[in-house]
Symmetry: C2
Subunit: 222 residues, 2 copies
């Protein structure tokens, strides 16, 4: 087993090196990069649609979509005039830095002010893979139940921002928002929590405001 462990460690180190080189590439391009992670169906693509509708005229956006199968998500973003590249993992449960690097080489995604990387729908596996992003965003739709942060602690502890989505459905659901916020604060005291509904538009201004603020901060720093 020792050789297996060695091979795995080397693979991990190579992956970290690739992520660092992506981070440098993004810094040189002045591009803010987000890694969006959630369960399937939490509304990542729908949030991105609402976001680029609001932002793309002032801030050129680009999208990398990760899915096991179908080009559907990239098509949805392309329909809004945003450059979008679909990575099909064929079965793998997360994106990695190598795939993101290859996507940048293949597709004309940069220059862009903001690059959204929508990871494969999975609340577990994508958590530990660094894609060179500025920060991770976890999405949790209120239809998934209010016990999820403690049941899937790793992602909620690491995400700089957690977005509670589909809050228009709250009147129809037993979902205790303060209880979820308490779990999130306990896992991640510095984390920002936002509430959004892509249908009513609630919270989209605050979310887009956060993105432009982070973009400005990044460009000042570079």
């Amino acid at each position: 087993m020792k050789q297996v462990v060695t091979v795995r460690r080397r693979a991990l180190e190579a992956s970290e090196t690739r992520a660092e080189s992506l981070r440098q590439r993004f810094a040189e391009a002045g591009t803010l990069v987000l890694n969006l992670i959630s369960s399937p169906g939490s509304g990542k693509t729908t949030l991105l649609e609402a976001t680029v509708r609001r932002l793309a005229s002032d801030h050129p956006c680009a999208v990398i979509e990760g899915d096991v199968a179908t080009e559907r998500d990239a098509d949805r973003l392309r329909a809004l005039g945003v450059p979008a590249h679909q990575i099909l993992t064929g079965g793998a449960c997360h994106l990695d830095a190598r795939q993101v690097g290859a996507a940048l080489d293949q597709a004309r995604l940069l220059p862009a002010d903001i690059l959204f990387i929508e990871n494969v729908g999975n609340l577990i596996c994508p958590t530990t893979y660094d894609l060179g992003e500025d920060f991770k965003v976890a999405l949790l739709s209120v239809t998934e139940g209010d016990d999820k942060p403690f049941k899937y602690p790793a992602i909620f502890a690491r995400a700089a921002v957690t977005v509670l989505t589909k809050i228009d459905l709250l009147p129809h659901l037993p979902f205790d928002v303060p209880a979820v916020e308490e779990q999130l604060r306990s896992l991640n005291p510095e984390g920002i929590i936002l509430q959004t509904s892509a249908i009513t538009g609630e919270g989209i201004d605050a979310w887009c405001g956060l993105l432009t603020e982070r973009l400005t901060t990044k460009r000042k720093r570079v």
Copy 2:
């Protein structure tokens, strides 16, 4: 890399052997075993609560819960008087046959008419792991969007039964039931599709009827 591949193949073979030995153990016990797979928050535990409330007085049930963290799901079933064992994976994204065997050795789950194995919330990774079950059940909540079967085809192609959950929320959602049924039939022509709401009770009779019918068939065959 050759040695890594060999180690992996051996691990896979060992896992298949363990699953076959579990299957034999379940056959000898006359226990129907289901492996429930879905995204986080699709309502697996809630469906199990409704199921044991309906069935457990006539058919002793037992539950194995798989989660990354917390005993919460096992506690919910224990509160209904059902023997439930929690497997905490600590980070792993699926259950395996070894863990299920250890659970059977540790906890008094058998004899039982029906053993429900609730896998870790993940629509990808649990798909290829045989736990010695009679069949897999995929859950898809209608809040997850009507594109999911084609986006996560492996589980929907393998599950003998797909349960569309939370159908009480359909009036508030853009979810095309016929489109989903068409995707499911295309992936899995023999698959059974059920619609349930654990809140209104709709479809729970049909689901429980299917389980008792499968139990009877299994016991006749043994």
